[in-house]
Assembly symmetry: C2
Homo-oligomer: 282 residues x 2
């Protein structure tokens, strides 16, 4: 998905929020906003939002010297999510269709976000999503693809959401490779966030090789690309991965909650909708 | 009130919204966003938001050749407001305290906004405000000031809101001078908007001499400043006028709904609160 002009004000909001998390010096915050102001006019708007987001967060990190401002928030989200795990596990176990129930749980975990939409309440939002209708639901195709697949490439999104992903991975009958970001960016999951969610007990963890807040293939490592190209089923979590892969012609299933108007419009659903959607190019 | 860094993303949102009202050419919209990007780092943040807003809307007008993009919207708002007039008039007439009721009505009209918060529903929002508690209510002082005043200077805010202002002016027992902007900016009321609301039948209409979306004294005409300096009571409607006059040491009563977090915080109330507040410097 290309970047829309609507992303412009959002990049400034994200810069403001993240800079203020790092420093209470408003002069410094203004310097960072100025730098972003001067950077944005030069970008190609053929770029995807995660490519621009990567640069925005790199500028913030460079100007403040803080590379992982969301570290504590990520740890807190993982703890919160782990506290919900037993109840969610019970819910999946007692469902008529355990896989469907686990898909819902995985999408529910996608409410955790500190980029586009940081205004969430984990427990109540998860509860809402668990009984929300899907705006797009390619579940039948999803089941067929799982049947046929030798292994599943699962692209992670945010820390904490990782715990919800684990509940879906535990229901998948094929080997799973769980892909995280190489370096911290916003609250996206890196290897240690996946391990904190105990994903390593159920899946192989690998890095995509990038610090973009999404799977941008031309920024990924050759090692990841080899695995990606050879995989017969990709599960892609969240907005950042959708933004990077929406134009791909591989069988990818996007699991997400549309947390911004721009993405909702790009997909063709309403703001707040949840989807399990197969790429339409295959 | 000085400009806060939180205003930064908002200026971009406003630029985007207004530019898209004028043109569907996204390249043009991007050119305008770029110009705003390059302009904002150079401004003094001692400036008030209306001073910066004035420049932002000037850039949009210059780059598009459209000086009054909100003209039709303003006319529509005035028509909508006029259709509510008979019902509101009846409400004021049947109140125990007609002045208080008219103050409420005037504040209710302040929901009309296409700058900071364009997401309103006139009829239902007005209904809500008519029964909302005041977060700050200096009504006793307001009544005393009216008793003492020879004439009242009433600073208008938006077109359509003008009709609600008329209902308050009709209850004021002293001569009123109703002050509008000199030139169109956003949906702020100019002379013709005041006349469309038939304010001219109840008050003298004068221009502040500025095209800033607020009363910024150093941008006002000498003619207005003479009247302003000699007036013993000022009623100031809306956020833009508050932003320009919040530091003044004259008796000014601010009537507004806090439609953005920054102003709410500056006043010391919650987002969405309504206030009738006297300047505290006198």
């Amino acid at each position: 998905m290309k970047t829309y002009l609507d992303c412009y004000p959002c990049f400034f909001s994200q810069t403001l929020k993240t800079s203020r998390m790092i420093t209470s010096d408003e002069r410094k915050v203004r310097e960072i906003l100025t730098e972003i102001s001067l950077f944005l006019p030069n970008i190609s708007f053929d770029a995807t939002p995660p490519e621009i987001g990567r640069e925005v967060y790199r500028i913030i990190a460079e100007m403040t010297g803080v590379n992982d401002p969301y570290k504590e928030i990520k740890e807190k989200c993982t703890r919160q999510a782990l506290s919900l795990y037993p109840e969610l596990k019970k819910r999946v176990h007692s469902s008529k269709d355990r896989l469907m129930s686990a898909v819902r749980v995985a999408i529910a975990g996608n409410v955790i976000d500190f980029g586009a939409n940081a205004d969430f309440d984990l427990k109540s939002d998860v509860k809402t999503i668990l009984s929300q209708d899907f705006a797009i639901n390619h579940y039948r195709e999803f089941c067929e693809a799982i049947d046929k697949a030798k292994k599943i490439l699962y692209l992670a999104d945010n820390a904490g959401e990782t715990v919800f992903d684990r509940l879906l991975i535990e229901e998948l009958p094929k080997p799973v490779i769980y892909v995280v970001r190489e370096k911290p960016v916003i609250n996206d999951a890196v290897r240690e966030d996946a391990i904190a969610a105990r994903i390593d007990e159920k899946a192989e963890i690998m890095s995509s090789g990038t610090d973009a807040p999404g799977t941008i293939l031309n920024l990924c490592s050759e090692e990841f690309l080899k695995v990606y190209r050879s995989s017969d089923l990709v599960i892609s979590k969240g907005q950042g991965n959708y933004e990077g892969l929406s134009e791909e012609d591989k069988p990818i299933f996007f699991l997400l909650k549309a947390k911004c108007q721009v993405i909702a419009r790009d997909i063709g659903v309403e703001y707040g909708d949840i989807i399990l959607m197969k790429t339409d190019k295959n």
